[in-house]
Amino acid sequence: MADQTQLLPGTLDLLILKAVSLGPLHGYGVLLRIGQISGSALLIEQGALYPALFRLVRQGLLKADWGISENNRRAKFYELTAAGRKRFLEETHQWNRLASVMATVLAAQPEEI
């Protein structure tokens, strides 16, 4: 656990959108999927997931339906709406630009100035 990274504010929404974009998931599934893709490198407080999920539903980016999980339990499944998919692409694009700019800046050497 010691090598887990704190999330930057605002990144949880993007992570959720990414996880759901790969296929409908219930809440716990979202958590598992993020852990799986990130190699468990990100520290996410489990409960904090839900306010974020509800917020996304309310913004019309996700839609939710009750169903039966692989554990044979009742669970609510989330999937992207059209607006959600669009927002996901935009945010991914923005994040990539920010990351590359940050990388460039941080990689700058004294002789480059």
């Binding site: 219930h26 809440g27 716990y28 599934g29 958590l31 407080e45 489990q46 409960g47 904090a48 997931l49 839900y50 306010p51 974020a52 999920l53 509800f54 917020r55 539903v57 309310r58 999980s69 554990n71 339990r73 009742r74 669970a75 609510k76």
Partner: protein, 888 residues
């Protein structure tokens, strides 16, 4: 968060709130179970897995609440949170909460009561169909509503703008339904009255124009729903029954609907009967006398599309015709329109002035209460500055904190408004069933309606925001670092010790408002005392009044005089009775009988030649002795001043001055009455009050009953005996004389209730408002003094430890509140002096410059200061420096 979404969520929350709650909860549970399944699969025991899953999930309640908020229920959710938070805060300081709610309840209650009166008397129209087009017709420059019957007939028949003009007059009559006769009150009305007002009967039928065929031709009676209920027990067979009214047979035609209470707001009649029967009712025939303006009011609905200006022009053209055709009787026949409900301009303007002034004062009370609560809230905010600082430091927004402060204020204001409204509704309902003057069926119909509720709610909300805004600046300027560093709120208080703060200003404002109210109530009390002890021109103590009208038992003319004489002699023979006098109308009892008199040399008796309009009383011998009126010169009447001897009169001093230019040598002089009768003056009495306490000197004329027979009869019985046994003895004596004569007996003091009613009402209302103002000021000063003492306990302790004397300690602790008190009182006194004009509406001869009033105000304010600072002063003096210093 946008409002419609929040609203929708609110609705869904109200209706499906548990659904939604269960949904969120189920989802979170499902998450924990999935996690537990996984943990169990990795080898943990079932119980341990569930425990771990719950721990990993984090703050369950917190996330649940955050989820709710994320779901869009923010606005109302946080509002609800604020409300709960405020409730908790208020529960922590119940004293504060109760004081605040009660303060506001008083202020809002006072406003609701006064507004309830305003609403009922001025905003609510008469309960008749289409009240908006109903106007009463007023005559002449003085806007008098009374008319003579012939003039009424011409107005009714010659106007082109009214849809029927009706006339009514208040009368009392004796009703005999087979067993004992009782007196009841009602209207004599024109035949078209119900048609012109568009009222339909509840039972039976009403009379119409077509039922009248000249004098005494329509022996019909319509009774009110209330009277039908109380006298006839809702018996429907009453329609068609023949009853005796003043010994004449009348047929009960019908019952009026229960919501119709006649055409005066405050006088609910028991019956209506046609005015053409006036002679049977009163024994007098004035239906043909154009100059006798005895009928209280004429009124009617304007035709559709007619403006008031058109109607007035139309009436004025009829008036011009009347003046030209009847120059002897009709002068100044210009007309105006008024609302009939308060007898038009007779009572409307003074009542409106009174209520407006009261509304102003009640508004002041509310302002004072707001100032009071504002400073309480400011103090509370100062006390909570540490909590506020902590919340700010922990990331709460200032907006959120302000909102919670405002929520607290609004909650208190709503609670106060609710309590105040409940109280005022109870009071208004009680007032509506109250009969302030036992002699007359007078009511104050001020039942509250939705208007009152809305105004109270609005006032509560507005005042909540008003005093809730006071601590806003304080919260906005809170600097968390400073306060947390200082460790106590002493910084704020320490700083404000020197400057003038908002709280100081509020307190001064509040005290000056209170001083204004105290000034006004003292002025009112003094006015009442003065009018009660002014010279009435008679002596109401140790006298009883017996009222009757002999026509109720069928006496009139000379037979009336005969029975009056016998009544007087019989009552005078009762042991313990000093003297008995008979009069046709008791002064200051609300009756108003006046006539025009002319100089001796006048031969043309047209209105412009009238020397004076004088109050006229027809009296028996001994009246002056029984009434306690002193005869200045000349003689009293005797029974020998009869039809066969010279017409004689006793006048008052003012009459002499107006008629003869001086009050010297009046005996033997002559003047004339409207019919040309020459009258000789045989005596002169002191001046007195005859119709109203507030009247200026008024000429009065006394005529002997034997020469001017009348059936209106009041016996004045002067006796040192106790009222109850004396009344019983009188009753017994008169029953023996004529068992069929209804009458009422009371003490003369009680009889004065009519005349004293306005001043009593004024004194009562101002007294209540003044008491409220005083209480508010006391709590205000007390709050401030107690607060400043409690905040400076340590400083005071140090002062005492360093050897300060009691005087110095008190000065340090209470100097400031007392200084503010002095400042506020001075300002209030000044304002009170300036407010004389407003007071003049309420109180007769309002004179705040009266040294007694000024002294009274100063003493009251001093006492108030003493009362309010007594407990804080004790507390300051009993400070034990050791304990205080040890505490820190």
């Amino acid at each position: 968060m946008n409002f419609p979404t929040s609203l929708r969520t609110l609705f869904s929350r109200v209706f499906h709130s548990s659904d939604l709650d269960r949904g969120v909860e189920e989802e979170l549970r499902s998450h924990i179970q999935h996690r537990a399944d996984d943990l169990e699969r990795s080898g943990l025991s079932h119980a341990e897995a569930e425990r771990r899953a719950r721990i990993e999930f984090g703050g369950y309640v917190r996330f649940k609440e955050e989820s709710h908020r994320a779901l869009g229920s923010q606005l109302f959710e946080t509002l609800w949170q604020d409300v709960r938070f405020s409730c908790r805060k208020l529960r922590q300081s119940p004293g504060f909460a109760i004081a605040a709610v009660l303060t506001l309840a008083m202020a809002i209650g006072a406003n609701a009561v006064v507004f309830g009166m305003l609403n009922a008397l001025f905003l609510r129209p008469l309960n008749v169909p289409q009240p908006e087009s109903l106007y009463s017709i007023e005559r002449g420059p003085d806007k008098e509503a009374n008319q003579s019957y012939p003039d009424y007939l011409d107005l009714r028949d010659r106007n082109r703008t009214f849809d029927g003009v009706a006339l009514y007059n208040i009368v009392s009559a004796g009703l005999d339904t087979g067993h004992n006769a009782t007196q009841f009150w009602g209207y004599e009305v024109s035949g078209n009255y119900f048609d012109a007002l568009r009222i339909q009967p509840f039972l039976g039928r009403f009379f119409h124009d077509a039922d009248e065929h000249g004098p005494n031709s329509a022996p019909y009676l319509v009774i009110s729903h209330a009277y039908w209920h109380s006298r006839f027990q809702d018996d429907p067979s009453v329609v068609g029954r023949i009853v005796q009214v003043n010994q004449h047979p009348f047929t009960i035609l019908g019952v009026a609907p229960s919501e119709f209470h006649g055409t005066l707001l405050f006088f609910f009649p028991d019956f209506w009967l046609p005015v053409v029967d006036h002679e049977q009712l009163t024994g007098m025939n004035i239906l043909t006398a154009r100059g006798d303006r005895n009928f209280i009011m004429t009124m009617g609905h304007l035709k559709p599309g007619v403006t008031t200006a058109q109607a007035i022009a139309d009436l004025n053209s009829v008036g011009a015709w009347l003046e030209k055709t009847y120059p002897k009787d009709d002068a100044g026949m210009t007309f105006a329109l008024a609302r009939p409900s308060l007898a038009g301009d007779l009572l409307g303007p003074p009542a409106r002035g009174f209520i407006t002034a009261l509304m102003l004062l009640a508004g002041l009370i509310l302002l004072a209460a707001c100032a009071n609560l504002g400073s309480l809230f400011a103090a509370r905010a100062a006390d909570r500055s540490r909590e506020v600082a902590l919340r700010l430091a922990l990331g709460s927004s200032r907006k959120r904190i302000l909102r919670s402060v405002l929520t607290e204020a609004v909650m208190i204001s709503l609670a106060g408004g609710g309590v105040g409204l409940a109280g005022s509704v109870a009071l208004l309902r009680a007032m509506s069933t109250w009969h302030p003057i036992p002699t007359y069926p007078i009511v104050i119909p001020v039942n509250p309606d939705a208007n009152v509720y809305w105004v109270a709610l609005l006032l509560a909300l507005v005042s909540g925001f008003l005093f809730g805004m006071v601590p806003v600046r304080q919260v906005l300027r809170t600097n968390p670092y400073e306060i947390v560093k200082a460790g106590s709120s002493s910084i704020l208080v320490g700083n404000s010790g020197r400057r003038i703060t908002v709280r100081d200003l509020l307190l001064v404002a509040q005290i000056s408002i209170c001083a204004v109210l105290v000034t006004s109530s003292l002025v009112a009390v003094r006015g009442l005392l003065q009018s009660m002890h002014s010279n009435f021109g008679f002596e109401p103590a140790n006298a009883m009044v017996l009222d009757t009208n002999l026509t109720m038992a069928g006496y009139s003319g000379e037979r009336a005089t005969e029975i009056q004489k016998r009544m007087k002699d019989a009552v005078a023979a009762i042991p313990g009775v000093d003297s008995v006098g008979v009069v046709n109308q008791v002064p200051l009892s609300g009756s108003f009988g006046s006539r025009d008199v002319y100089r001796d040399e006048t031969t043309d008796f047209r209105p412009s030649n009238v020397a004076a309009d004088v109050m006229t009383f027809r009296i028996s011998p001994d009246y002056f002795r029984a009434a306690g009126t002193s005869l200045l010169t000349g003689r009293d009447f005797t029974w020998h001043d009869d039809q066969n001897s010279t017409r004689v009169a006793v006048i008052n001093r003012e009459f002499a001055i107006r008629m003869f230019g001086s009050s010297a040598n009046t005996i033997g002089k002559h003047f004339k009455l409207g019919d040309g009768t020459r009258v000789e003056v045989v005596g002169m009495t002191e001046d007195g009050k005859y119709y109203q306490l507030t009247e200026d000197l008024r000429p009065a004329l006394f005529l002997p009953m034997v020469q001017w027979p009348t059936s209106a009869t009041s016996l004045i019985v002067r006796s040192g005996r106790e009222a109850q046994p004396l009344a019983a003895a009188i009753r017994l004596t008169l029953r023996r004389l004529d068992a069929g004569l209804p009458f009422e007996i009371r003490t003369w003091q009680d009889d004065l209730g009519v005349a004293l009613f306005p001043s009593r009402m004024a004194t009562m209302s101002l007294g209540v408002l003044g008491a409220m103002g005083t209480m508010l000021a006391i709590t205000g000063i007390f709050g401030m003094a107690a607060y400043s003492v409690s905040k400076r306990l340590r400083e005071l302790g140090i002062r005492i430890a360093l050897g300060a004397q009691r005087k110095e300690v008190l000065q340090a602790a209470l100097g400031r509140p007392l200084k503010l008190l002095a400042l506020g009182s001075a300002a209030g006194l000044l304002l009170g002096l300036l407010a004389t004009r407003v007071l003049a509406y309420i109180v007769y001869q309002a004179n705040p410059r009266d040294p007694l009033v000024l002294g009274g105000v100063v003493v009251t304010m001093l006492l108030m200061g003493l009362v309010a600072t007594w407990i804080p002063a004790q507390r300051a003096l009993s400070v034990d420096p050791l304990i205080l210093l040890r505490e820190e």
